[in-house]
Symmetry: C2
């Protein structure tokens, strides 16, 4: 079976970046899930990325696949890139290397040890790849971008820029504020349509697409699976497909923090059913 | 934090080998856990491996870490290499790319599609790395080796050779035959002492060690953790440490096949306990 894969952190400066990274001394373990290890990126590091997408922090799927934005949020973001005709010439980097735990992680966005390392990634990417546009997803990612713009390399960067809401804004906003999930989706779509308004024309598509806009919600048709070329060698195809496959279970909060259960989605269970 | 890592399948011919591999058409999904994807190797692919270890098939830990022989079996094998003074100049490849499911997988050891691909790995390793000794763990691995010896490259190979029992022989033999686990451990130790008898002198150690032999069982002191340099970038240290962290759970046999639960070992939970 032929299957594409991401060879990973083969070249400098990325090879150096993944060999020495901020740990608990920069990311307090009370507020970040440092125990799952850093998860660095997804997408091209070979000099072909033309869009840099800045996300927020990894979650359960990402801790297993060892690439960021592979779960639901990533598939929504992949759909946004698709509307720009960008199928492969992108790279994702997050604001945080580790998953935020609880509500206090966001205040660390401008911590020196965290920001300095993040700036090294941004610097490496704009130096070694022909980035035409930068998209940030969510407020923290926008802050990460603005902080970088105060550095010499960030200030000199001429890429087009657009900030959109975080892909899981509907879920988080409906939990934390008074709005309904439907209203959250409507706001996400409006925000992402603005991103498209800003960037169409600034980014040469991999494959020309007719301009299109989101409706008032994200439908299944707006999700795009994670390409095999973004995943480490040997990962099964369902780890990039649309069905969720990782969850933090555990009967207590402590065990929930300590564990992730990976389940092959029903659609991918091609074996003869095992009974008993 | 500085942390070593395995950069993976960077070079030819390995890069080609992981891009096109046998799937369900060679490995019947009734007998192999093809759904977790192929897991190819552990150790050096950079021309520095002097010992090739052939194992059997990956299990739960390996499906998550995406390297073979990282769980209990791997730590026992790592201890065996340690007694030869081999700390880094090794490479592990398995008889099977996928975990055997149920009791009928072993008959596929000589299936053409399976053996031919395995031979390509062995050929690549002996061609591109200065292999001085080959160790097989278990009967299937010995069969895999003997089959390869009937090929031109295998026949021409002059590396020293030793077969030892599979590292989890005590557990499997006590389940499937009448012997006690203690007797199984005694046989494993005797077998691995014979491997040492055979290979001492044939393998130049990475670090000189005093010759030593196993007692009548495998103690915790006989286990060696998986080095960071064998694991993909970013994996947390506990994925190479001695405590088990992956299990196939699930309330039904079907769900047990479909899932793996990863749990950070207690010793690695350095966060303030989460209550509730």
């Amino acid at each position: 079976m032929r299957r594409d894969f991401d060879a990973g952190y083969v070249r400098m400066p990325y090879r150096r970046l993944v060999a020495d990274f901020p740990d608990e001394s920069a990311y307090p373990i009370k507020h970040f899930r440092v125990e799952w290890g850093p998860i660095f990126h997804r997408g091209r590091l070979d000099g072909t990325a033309r869009v840099l997408v800045i996300g927020q922090d990894p979650a359960a799927h990402e801790a297993i696949a060892r690439r960021i934005l592979v779960g639901e949020a990533g598939q929504r973001a992949q759909g946004l890139l698709g509307r720009l005709g960008i199928e492969r010439s992108y790279v994702f980097v997050n604001t945080f290397l580790y998953s935020v735990f609880g509500g206090s992680g966001s205040k660390y966005v401008d911590d020196e040890g965290i920001a300095a390392y993040r700036h090294r990634w941004f610097d490496a990417i704009v130096k070694h790849q022909p980035i035409e546009a930068i998209i940030t997803l969510g407020q923290l990612a926008d802050t990460a971008y603005q902080l970088w713009r105060t550095t010499p390399t960030g200030a000199a960067n001429a890429a087009a820029y657009a900030n959109g809401r975080h892909p899981t804004f509907p879920e988080s906003a409906s939990r934390s504020s008074g709005i309904t999930k439907a209203e959250g989706f409507a706001r996400l779509c409006a925000s992402w349509n603005e991103v498209l308004d800003t960037l169409e024309g600034s980014v040469a598509p991999d494959t020309p697409v007719e301009p299109s806009r989101y409706g008032t919600t994200i439908t299944d048709g707006d999700l795009v699976a994670i390409p095999a070329r973004d995943l480490p060698p040997g990962l099964p195809p369902w780890m990039g497909a649309l069905d969720a496959w990782a969850v933090r279970a555990g009967d207590t909060k402590q065990l929930k923090r300590a564990s992730i259960t990976v389940t092959v989605p029903t659609a991918a269970r091609s074996w003869p059913p095992v009974t008993g």
